[in-house]
Symmetry: C2
Subunit: 210 residues, 2 copies
């Protein structure tokens, strides 16, 4: 049985939860209380020294400590349904858009939140090193997040899914980034009609309520 | 014939050059003069609206505009030698370490350089949007880059390659990150003996002089 070290309120483990659901893979959940700082405790450090969620323990005891490793593992061990693409062209488009949803989307919102929220003081980056907040980075993150929503709007005006013609991990990362962007008061609305329509289509997938 | 839009002095296109060489793939090169701002000109924007290098034009005219897409495409279209791993475990470890080399390594050095160098004023992020420099981010980037070299040192004390038991794209990204870190006066030396020994082994590969 797979075991996911998870936190219901955080965006990064949500990516793994949705991916597991889309692959049709059952798993056990261990909740890690990020608000209480459980990720910095000795017990969790022994599982994941990076002090981040998600982590995924596989059937044979391998512990994967980030979404990059989790996605590569699950796609290789459970190829169907393919979520990283089938042909070279699909794989390329999906990898590229997944990367953009992470760098331009998730990372930008995280910069805004972690550098702006008083509750995140001294935690401007995930992980065990306490980095101080940089207020200008909060501002830049919010600006970049809005820009990424424009990028998605343009993309989805031309393409049914973020990664192209098929549903893929790029949609998962983009949904998580978009929903996370609520913390900087950004959401899909009538000003970005293609983004809104795509998000409504995504909501029809049971995985997206996880 | 593949065509690489390249710049000899920049780290990102170097990743693609090394990858192509390790795959044994010949390609044509179009040099883009980043110092003169050629990436922002109309001619290059028509090729890559993101105004970044590398971009790779494939045999059938597909243009890939980032390393994520380029790596996924080349591995799928030209599987041998495998540089993203063979088994699920290998693929996971390599994806994870490639991601870390990018986020914790390359991105950290880029933050330091782009937010600290007078020549990069107004270009704190790649791409067409002119973001102002954030001096604290330059400082944090340099700190994170040094920390990533420590991470690599620990990893290479236990593992012959960055991604595990086999040479992979994670080594390529880590070499490029390490060499790029010279701009913040970091390099492999006797203080990090495993990192130094690995870099010397990497230097025996003809690709790494590209």
């Amino acid at each position: 049985m797979l075991t996911l070290y998870d936190c219901a309120t955080a965006p990064s483990p949500r990516r793994a939860r949705i991916l597991l659901a889309e692959k049709g893979l059952a798993h056990e959940t261990v909740a890690v209380d990020l608000r209480a700082g459980e990720q910095f405790g000795e017990a969790y450090r022994a599982i994941n020294p990076l002090c981040t969620v998600p982590a995924l323990r596989t059937d044979d005891g391998l512990v994967l400590t980030d979404n990059a490793g989790i996605a590569a593992y699950l796609e290789a061990a459970h190829p169907e349904p393919a979520l990283l693409g089938a042909t070279p062209r699909e794989k390329a488009e999906i990898a590229s858009w997944n990367w953009r949803a992470e760098f331009e989307g998730l990372l930008a919102v995280a910069e805004a939140l972690r550098n702006g929220s008083p509750a995140m003081s001294g935690r401007a980056l995930p992980g065990p090193v306490p980095y101080p907040q940089i207020p200008e980075l909060a501002q830049r993150g919010a600006q970049r997040a809005a820009q990424f929503l424009d990028t998605l709007e343009q993309r989805l005006a031309q393409s049914p899914y973020v990664g192209g013609e098929v549903f893929s991990i790029a949609d998962i990362t983009a949904v998580v980034a978009l929903d996370f962007a609520r913390v900087v008061k950004l959401r899909a609305d009538e000003q970005r009609p293609h983004l809104l329509a795509w998000r409504e289509r995504m909501a029809q997938r049971p995985s997206m309520s996880l």
